[in-house]
């Protein structure tokens, strides 16, 4: 090949060379990912990256996971050198949001910030320093001060709404999630409230391969989404009516006797008895003076008697609990009442959901409902859900109805079944680093031994508690959660300090059937102490003074919009800090922007997740650019500066709102075991070694061994995070299937009734008519008179707004924000493809480009989220159209599993199905 020996060919050859290769990954919450990459460096500059493709299959007969990655990861290095990268500490030199900056030294920046934090502590207490949880785990260490100052972190599940309230109501946990290779094994996959073609690029192949393996795929969505294109069936559905579809399928299944009777009897509350006189579960202390309030009952058909449903097992033993019938029971006061199983109540309730009736509600052909119901009842079925349903006002009802469908058909606890949500593991080694008695692994062993002993105390009064219950109770106390210990549900902070009180009391945003004002529910929740005083009462009087965002972008994300925050929160703040590697919209409105090292410039690991079961290393390929620093270095420097400045003003301690005295001396030593674990690499290695001691990683794992392998599989879930909520142990040679403890070993669920619970007899749920899963119409949020419903979802090209401004990715779409509108709707409004349009709801307005497609449902407007507000003319984005409303039932508590712990039950904002209008704008 003579021609290629000339210069032109060598130029290309030279381009594909490098000086060094390191492991890379992206420490971000991309649903959550954890893709092993190789990072190629030449002349001190990162030139590109490529998936490492090092996965070997866990279980025979299932395709491997290579080459796990996506287009964002494939050009992540471009963000290192992008024009929005920050490499010097920036101090605001104009008005907030103006974009005028002065470059300053780290010392000057940290001095100002530390002083503002100390002022805030002295004026109002540590609660006035707010840090929203970041979805970028790598950025977490910048907020090390949280751990020593006791300042609150607002809970991520509310911050980014990735919660599945209906799962929590049913199972007591929201995240029983299989590893993604399990998707391959489903015989029927319902892609429902999800768009994995956009959002699961690294794993989508398992769905395509499941289909090739003989499985069927059905996509249920209002629009013909990208994820419908590879399905066998697309079922279009009227926006917000999914509960009616699921309930109608349940009716078909029950009417045709296709439900799994034993599964229903054993795993669910459907055989539990409910009093006909008051609609409440029959409880132990009503029947016997000596019995527990949380004892529930079956009617045993074998001997026609009332029988206690065991609290320590799901096994039916020698009982055949009745699913139907009305029975007489004598209470301890000798009165006689009638009771009936939940199943019978359910059957009556489902009379409203014939396929014909549901077909009208959902705008679906009744025959399709029947056909689909039969498929679900006769096959291993998985509901592939995203985090969309939970963002509907009545998303809890949709999810409860889907869980009912799975329960009736026995579709969880075995391979190829179940559903999903997000599920991450904690990293015990990191969380406990400051708590163990000293540096080194012996100290870690001592720590874990004392923790096990502490946990035994949690269950001392109730030996029937399962490991999952012990874990969850411990998390509710929060003392074990390390960095998560100061997590608060932010609903009350938002209500009193972010200006949401007015919005949440606007009847238009609420369920019209609500019996009382929103404020009355808030007050009742506070009075009854359902969320603890710290979270619920403090912000009635404490005003935020410092807002510290690291790796997040609250002005992009906050439902209710940036206007809301700039009007109500910003004026109260004396100091706003954004720690990031790039300038976000939040950064633009900050007082200081601190430059963090990029992901290939520091030691990171992937988000630890049950989805992928691996600890993946991201090594340091180059030094951080300019003055930027690894987050952990920023964290320590800030803590040290706080100590220094406190000493200067003679401040050695302070009290938090609960009267606890906290020291301002020796903070850095406290976090670093006396300085021994102060440096980035030492610290990272220690956390890995400790993880091996705690059992999360294979024995002997160190940073050095990881540098050889790049990634290792988990060996156990550890004791924090959502691992243990899986209700299954990790098996060395099998994919992960959640809820096996319940289904195989008959271990009870962590719900009030210790079974999958479809009947919630909490006062508020009964008042709302939501004791059983039911369908309710979307609210009028945004304005009853408005013609369109705006839906949203993650876009294809970025993780939140993180990669959105990457020039390479911008070139792969329109390069600017757009709204998808149906072609006929567009014609009617005189809107042409590419026109500038204004969208308006009662909450706000924004300018955006129109994109036209027949895939969009008439009456629907799709705005994929993740665009930086500063990409819109005027900088207002779709969040400004969303009222940011929460459903009042999220405030319910004092009821078994309806209690707060980090990343769990709490009010979360609804942003789907916002009513709005759209009009063409002439330039």
């Amino acid at each position: 090949m003579a021609q290629t020996d000339s210069n032109w060919a060598d130029r290309y050859r030279e381009k594909w060379t490098w000086d060094s290769v390191t492991w890379g990954t992206h420490s971000v919450d991309c649903y959550p990912g954890g893709c092993p990459f190789r990072v190629y460096t030449k002349n001190g500059r990162i030139v590109r990256e490529e998936q490492a493709s090092i996965h070997t299959p866990i279980e025979a007969g299932i395709p491997d996971r290579n080459p796990m990655g996506c287009q964002k990861g494939a050009c992540w290095s471009h963000c290192h050198y992008s024009q929005d990268r920050i490499t010097t500490p920036l101090k605001r030199a104009g008005e907030r949001g103006e974009g005028k900056w002065q470059e300053v030294s780290w010392d000057e920046a940290l001095t100002d910030i530390a002083d503002a934090m100390l002022d805030a502590i002295e004026e109002q207490g540590p609660e006035s320093i707010i840090t929203p949880l970041t979805p970028e785990v790598g950025a977490q260490p910048a907020r090390l001060f949280n751990r020593v100052l006791g300042t609150p972190t607002s809970d991520g599940n509310a911050e980014f709404q990735d919660f599945s309230p209906g799962w929590h109501l049913t199972w007591g946990v929201f995240n029983p999630t299989s590893s993604m290779d399990d998707w391959f094994l489903a015989d029927l996959t319902l892609i429902w409230h999800a768009n994995p073609v956009y959002t699961n690029i690294h794993w989508y192949h398992y769905l395509a391969e499941s289909r090739y393996n003989g499985g069927e795929i059905v996509t249920i969505a209002p629009d013909y989404s990208a994820s419908a294109t590879h399905a066998d069936y697309h079922q279009p559905i009227r926006i917000g009516t999914d509960a009616a579809l699921a309930l109608s399928m349940c009716k078909v299944i029950i009417d045709s006797g296709l439900y799994q009777k034993q599964f229903v009897q054993e795993q669910t509350d459907l055989p539990l008895l409910v009093r006909k006189d008051n609609g409440r579960f029959l409880r132990g202390n009503e029947v016997y003076d000596w019995d527990r309030e949380d004892q529930f009952f079956w009617w045993n058909t074998l001997n026609g008697s009332l029988t206690s449903a065991p609290r320590n097992t799901l096994a039916l033993l020698d009982v055949d609990p009745a699913l139907e019938g009305t029975f007489k029971v004598t209470l301890s006061d000798l009165s006689e009442i009638e009771v009936e199983p939940v199943f019978q109540l359910l059957k009556r309730h489902l009379e409203d959901y014939t396929p014909e009736r549901a077909g009208e509600i959902c705008e679906i052909a009744p025959d399709n409902i029947r056909k689909l119901a039969r498929k679900v009842a006769t096959r291993k079925t998985k509901i592939f859900i995203g985090w969309n349903s939970g963002k509907y006002y009545h998303g809890d009802l949709m999810e409860r109805a889907m869980a009912l469908l799975l329960g009736l058909t026995g579709n969880w606890g075995k391979k190829g079944t179940g559903t999903r949500s997000w599920a991450i593991m904690g990293m015990d080694g990191d969380a406990f680093m400051a708590r163990k008695p000293g540096p080194g692994q012996e100290a870690a062993q001592k720590h874990i031994a004392s923790m096990i002993a502490m946990r035994k105390l949690v269950s001392v009064n109730d030996p029937t508690m399962t490991p999952e219950m012990v874990q969850n109770r411990a998390a509710e106390v929060a003392s074990e959660l390390g960095g998560m210990g100061n997590m608060i549900p932010p609903a009350f902070l938002w209500y009193y300090q972010f200006g949401y009180k007015e919005r949440w009391n606007d009847p238009e945003n609420n369920d019209p059937t609500m019996k009382r004002s929103f404020d009355e529910y808030v007050n009742e929740a506070i009075e009854k102490g359902w969320f603890g005083d710290r979270a619920s009462k403090v912000f009635q009087h404490v005003e935020p003074r410092v807002f510290f965002e690291s790796g997040g972008n609250v002005l992009r994300r906050q439902r209710g919009g940036q206007k809301q925050l700039l009007k109500h929160l910003w004026p109260k703040l004396k100091m706003i800090v954004s720690v990031d590697y790039r300038m976000t919209t939040t950064g633009l409105h900050s007082d200081y922007v601190l430059p963090a090292a990029q992901h290939y410039e520091k030691l990171v690991h992937s988000m630890m997740s049950v989805h992928h079961l691996r600890f993946v290393l991201g090594d340091k390929a180059t030094e951080p650019l300019g003055d930027s620093l690894p987050d952990v270095e920023i964290g320590f420097r800030l803590v040290e500066k706080i100590e220094e400045r406190a000493a200067k003003r003679g401040l050695t301690e302070f009290k938090d709102c609960e009267g606890n005295v906290r020291s301002l001396v020796g903070l850095s030593d406290q976090l670093s075991q006396g300085g021994a674990l102060r440096e980035e690499e030492v610290r990272f290695d220690e956390a890995i070694r400790d993880n091996a001691v705690y059992g999360l990683l294979p024995k002997g794992t160190t940073l050095e061994t990881l540098r050889e392998k790049g990634a290792v599989r988990f060996t156990s879930w550890g004791s924090i995070g959502h691992g243990i909520s899986q209700g299954s142990s990790i098996r060395p040679d099998e994919i992960h299937t959640p809820m096996r403890w319940h289904v195989e070993d008959k271990v009870p669920y962590d719900t009030l009734v210790r079974r999958a619970q479809y009947y919630i007899d909490h006062d508020w749920f009964i008042e709302a008519g939501e004791a059983l899963p039911t369908h309710k119409e979307p609210t009028n949020q945004g304005g009853a008179q408005r013609r369109f419903l705006m839906t949203s979802g993650h876009n294809r090209w970025s993780i939140h707004s993180m990669n959105m401004t990457n020039n390479i990715l911008l070139n792969t779409h329109r390069g600017e924000p757009f709204v998808f509108i149906n072609d006929d709707d567009a014609v009617g409004l005189g809107i042409e493809n590419g026109d500038k349009v204004r969208m308006t709801s009662n909450a706000g307005t924004m300018l955006i480009q129109a994109k036209i497609s027949p895939s969009v449902r008439p009456g629907q407007l799709i705005v994929y989220n993740g665009f930086e507000p500063y990409m819109h003319e005027e900088h207002y984005s779709q969040a400004d159209l969303e009222p940011g409303h929460v459903k009042h039932l999220g405030l319910a508590g004092g009821y078994g599993h309806l209690t707060y712990r980090a990343f769990s039950w709490q009010p979360i904002p609804a942003d789907r199905a916002v009513r709005c209008d759209i009009e063409k704008v002439m330039d």
Partner: protein
Amino acid sequence: MPDNKKSKRQLAWVYDLNKCIGCQTCSVACKMLWNNEEEGADHQWWMTVNTKPGAGTPRGWESMGGGYDAKGKLHFGRLPTPEEFGGGWDFNYDDVLRGGKGRSAHLKKISGSKTWGMNWDEDEGGGEFPNAYFFYLPRMCNHCTDAACVEACPSGAMFKRESDGLVLRDEDACTGSQQCASACPYKKIYFNEARGVSQHCIGCFPRLEQGVAPVCVRQCPGRAAFVGFLDDENSAVHRLVAKHRVALPLHPEFNTTPNVFYVPPLAPAPLREDGSWDENASRIPPNILEDLFGTEVHGALEVLRSELDKKRRGKESKVMDELILYQWKDCLGHLTRDPAEIVWKRS
């Protein structure tokens, strides 16, 4: 037809359109390796994925002409304009983030096309709701056996590589006449204004030389891409194209004998007027697929459907197993080397 079309072996690609999810990882990987921070290459995307139906890039490329007629006569088509290729955008980051302009400046394009991009009509598709339809079509140079560009090249810079059939261009000899781009019916040749040369996919030849697969295949997370020698019975490409006959060339009527093949798209059952599913009808109008892949598309789809059916009845299917790709390395043909192993001896 060009004389130099004969190569000893032919490297070929297969893209499975039932696995392609339009994520652009192939495009981005290719861009990062060959056209990032390269002079005159801002607008160049040798690999692109577009939504079909759609105008793609360059906009309306299918009707621009080029290729051979049935008698083997070369036809020059129209040269796409930069505006039709679209993209090549840079943005006013500094103005927005450091310019002190607040809300009066927002991030916008400051260079490149105003009306089009390499994936401007993403996910728009065709049909009428609720029976809208679309699918993704990844496109690269077809490294045609009867390469019209090679015959059209007036300077002799273009050639078909003997060892693997790649269509390459000696950029030192290229005079920038763009005859190649006029002749290419797939319009996959770009012009580098700054350097005065045409450029297109080089098949990642420096990687091939090291036994490493091209980035578009090796980085495809959808596991939809395959590469290998067409005559290598051990390659999935050979089996999918020649044995199972489920992979077809794009626009065979252009008569250039392209070497990129596609497993045609299935689609969900359409809905009848009453909203019920019609399992016997086709959502994607058959003529749309025929226009792209010729009449053989029906046979290929029939094979896919019957093999799917086998799996659904619990039977074995070699075709489905091939497409499932249990072992990812099987999509790489003979090019299985991990590039991270390579240590360059730098002078």
